[in-house]
Symmetry: C2
Amino acid sequence: MESLSPKERIYTTAVLLFARQGFAGTGLRELAVKAEVNLAMISYFFGSKKGLLKEILDGFFEEYLHIARKELIGDASLNTKLSRFISSAVRYFASEQNSLLVTIAELPHDDPEIIEHKSNWGRQMARILSREVCEPLAVETGKKIPVTCLGPMLTSLMASRFLFSPMMERVGGDAENPVSVESYTEILVAVFLQGLLAQGQKRLNPSLSDKLVERSKTR
Amino acid sequence: MESLSPKERIYTTAVLLFARQGFAGTGLRELAVKAEVNLAMISYFFGSKKGLLKEILDGFFEEYLHIARKELIGDASLNTKLSRFISSAVRYFASEQNSLLVTIAELPHDDPEIIEHKSNWGRQMARILSREVCEPLAVETGKKIPVTCLGPMLTSLMASRFLFSPMMERVGGDAENPVSVESYTEILVAVFLQGLLAQGQKRLNPSLSDKLVERSKTR
DNA sequence: AAACGAATTAAACAAACGTTTGATTCGTTT
DNA sequence: AAACGAATCAAACGTTTGTTTAATTCGTTT
């Protein structure tokens, strides 16, 4: 945090505070203090509090959309494309957990300015998912699932772990060791593609990293 | 709204406003005006703004937990139990959409008072899911999916439509008619239990109600 | 009708809010 | 060294915030 520019410190600290306290629940004075910056610098760099939020949302959506384009567009099978997408997206969600939380917490709110931003990104994502997933899926399996249904399902599913993490930390007893991001990804892929009730496959077993953790505990 | 008691009007209006503008983003004066109630009545009935939020969260979790107990506990097959649970829960989410949105938007925030409330409900839900879903699942399929993973996945998946609805309303073009709650439920059950890539079954076709809508349009 | 507690009210409280102003410092260019 | 724009600052702007107070109305019980 020390080597960052003042503007970067504001951005980073804002993502952290907005994620933990909500956008409206965070005051600019607290943000300025925690970012070690003068209060007026926030308006100076981002125009307004809402302008700061817009930049955060844009930053998250831009990368998310980039991942979707990279992993979903192409000639690979639906199975591989979706597996790769989920894997990359979850890795991104994990690395930018706070940006994800800010975005999701602001999703249901209906501020006209913000809604417009979100819808723009939603339209682009819907175009990709429609062509690269929904249409091939209808051809291969006969199932017609609308993008407006599949898009939210997929994103919510991948975000679930992070949405509930502040709550689940106090639910899972001390005995239960937390699930690594890798095996979380494997579970997601398996459930979303093959279903919860499908017979277990070898890719569903605990990943190597989890096994090592387990061993180091029992010894 | 006219026949409700002042306390009920405050509660109902608060759910609506918190869902659309967020908890911290809603002022008590605006709430008092919209609920046609004197400002001081809010503190009088609910103690504080946070007290009001706690009652909303409790109200939502109580019914959600009730549904989980009713549909998941018993000797039916995993398939039927989960199908019924998803069906009931989605119907409840749809009827209490705003309570759901308030709850989810507050999930990631780490206010100690609120976190404690959420965790209490989370623990109870985890106990049910663990015994009635995770353990039977491990026996039947060999897959060991921790509750701290499955719980959030299931809830997020069912909530996805409602979380994204303000955004998706502007994404889906006018041509595309919205998915009914019934067929949304069928899609959820099919994807979660059999997987996205499974071959289409008859329960996956558009539900009767959707077919009627489609017919009335083309004629 | 007197008395009582619950319900409702207008008014005020200090604190925090987002934003703006005008002066000052800093590094670079002329 | 003079000049310039960008960056930083302390201070104040007018609102709005959640909460509390004390007085009043209301319906019921005595």
